[in-house]
Assembly symmetry: C2
Homo-oligomer: 389 residues x 2
Amino acid sequence: MSGEMFGDEVDIKARLRAAEVMYKKFHRLISDVIKGRPPKLEIPKRTLSNTIFDPERGILVIGEEKLEREFLNVGESRRFMQTLLMASIIYQSLIENEYPTIRDLYYKGKHTIVYRDYTGRKREENTWDEQKESDSVIQDIEVYTGLFREDMLILSKEKGKVVGNMRIRSGGDVIDLSKLGHGAYAIEPTPDLIEFLDVDAEFVLVVEKDAVFQQLHRAGFWKKYKALLVTGSGQPDRATRRFVRRLHEELNLPVYIITDSDPYGWYIYSVYKVGSITLSYESERLATPKAKFLGVQMTDIFGYRGKKPYLSEAERKKFMIKATDKDVKRAKELLNYSWIGKNRRWNVEIRLFLKHLVKLEIEAIASKGLKFFAHQYIPEKIETGDWID
Amino acid sequence: MSGEMFGDEVDIKARLRAAEVMYKKFHRLISDVIKGRPPKLEIPKRTLSNTIFDPERGILVIGEEKLEREFLNVGESRRFMQTLLMASIIYQSLIENEYPTIRDLYYKGKHTIVYRDYTGRKREENTWDEQKESDSVIQDIEVYTGLFREDMLILSKEKGKVVGNMRIRSGGDVIDLSKLGHGAYAIEPTPDLIEFLDVDAEFVLVVEKDAVFQQLHRAGFWKKYKALLVTGSGQPDRATRRFVRRLHEELNLPVYIITDSDPYGWYIYSVYKVGSITLSYESERLATPKAKFLGVQMTDIFGYRGKKPYLSEAERKKFMIKATDKDVKRAKELLNYSWIGKNRRWNVEIRLFLKHLVKLEIEAIASKGLKFFAHQYIPEKIETGDWID
């Protein structure tokens, strides 16, 4: 069979690396058994209490607490066995050149074990019932091995796109991200396998919404202002976040983020910046703690002290949307996040929101004219440092 | 200002073309007024009763019925004015090199008209309240002018992706769709502006799900079988549908579609094939009536007469998901669509579904092994003609 069927060299190297780590990490269990010790896994806890905001690095990280999973413990043996089952499926996929998705892994492992209990009665037990269960096992394997699922060539649905003055290498091809016409480069599920070749850009601009990305792209924004233009199409997936983080870290580029001016948009910014709360162990590689919130800010709408608003009274009336109870609840939750609640400018933002109880979409700014949005609003805010850190 | 700020030459030409059509279509109203005739718009009706399935062409089309919108008619003047307001905003956007989205157009036109009625009382009237209203006006303008919103450089969120042995020209750039590494080409919002340069492919494979697209891409499917691989990430947007249609029509390539084996997946296939019911006027350019449903078929799961199932009894037990009441309702609705209800093989499919009351995801097939899925299931079905027309 041709080599193409097994993916390219980049993938093969990644497979070998991941398979080796998995082998080492799980081989210990065999030594345990041989030495007569009860086999046991020590896995960092993925609980909220073990999720810590590291102010120095500015990201959420997983703490020191670990849980033990023993085979010879009735309360833990099910999860112990699930973990080994999943690890063996992933390992098998690695060496057999498969590219499973997390949904595949759920299906691959799903079966019913029929056995007789100590009374001789026939019993049945499912390996897992729902994908939630198998996903959680994959997460355990990620924190246990220190490998991300992407490192294990587990693929997923991807929504991220990029254009800009940059060339990258992916899977053996060189792609010029400035030569994609009206289209864009759809970011791959394994962004760590991308090689950055050369770049002529001064900053990264991440826009929440794909339609706004299309507009800025078409208006030539990235060419004129030397930007790398990225969208995650709403709540960003892991690959988009990792890609943005790498642009920041390896190319030393500032990252500006534009979302709707509402608690949902602010949370999207927060996910890019510090990571998601439920999966803090990812943040170490996915978060971009220095990402700046460029807008749309409440102070862009209402002004604040010396700052002149970008919208007139009439435009405010025209564009603003009433906040819902859910928005208000969410805004108050955001204040509880220390990286927001303790930030003076975020306090101003959220106080303005709670005072006026209105929100605003990016499109409202763009509807004042794409020229205004692309060639005044954004560059002026970057120029004058009008962002929230 | 640099030319980049106004989009490329391709866009400028498209703008001029659309502006000219709009000018001609709406200029009539001025002649009406000059000649003392009450200004009136004749717009093809976008109602269900005026939606016809054309069996010859195999698509849904808009019928002959037209509605008249007169300015001097109390019941119609509001919509008449809305139509002219929207047309003028779109025209303005065209000549001012804007790239609005439908959301922008909603915002641009949204305002309150204050006036005094015949009794001298002050009254207020909003141009429109919700985007649903302004969207519907845009659709009227589409059917009235024969221009699609894409022709008028109205942009939108895009989800479609493509890879394969093909080169295209978009916005002045030449893009080689076979040199995108692990990533893909994100299809632009205006696919009619894409120029097909050269192609070395034998068919188009459309997969419903992005994650499955990623898997087949990574497994080198399109290289080995000379396919253009496309995904619309679920319910396809207009650009993806138009792109697929153009691949079929202009390159003469057969189009095979793979979705989940459930009523939702079947409907996605139906949208690619005949168009969506609510927007039948689009079908003339968006639908691909010869698109074939490759799978996942119920007969792939259960077999049928001479056909051997692809799944064993154990695999069926493992992979199948119980259908919900909503699924059943939807399946019965599908039988009412003549292009499904009158098709013998679709009848077999849906009867099997209603008999077993189970559904199956593409991932279940892929989890049998990507090699099985990519290098046996798909090519074998294409080879033996095991699809539904």
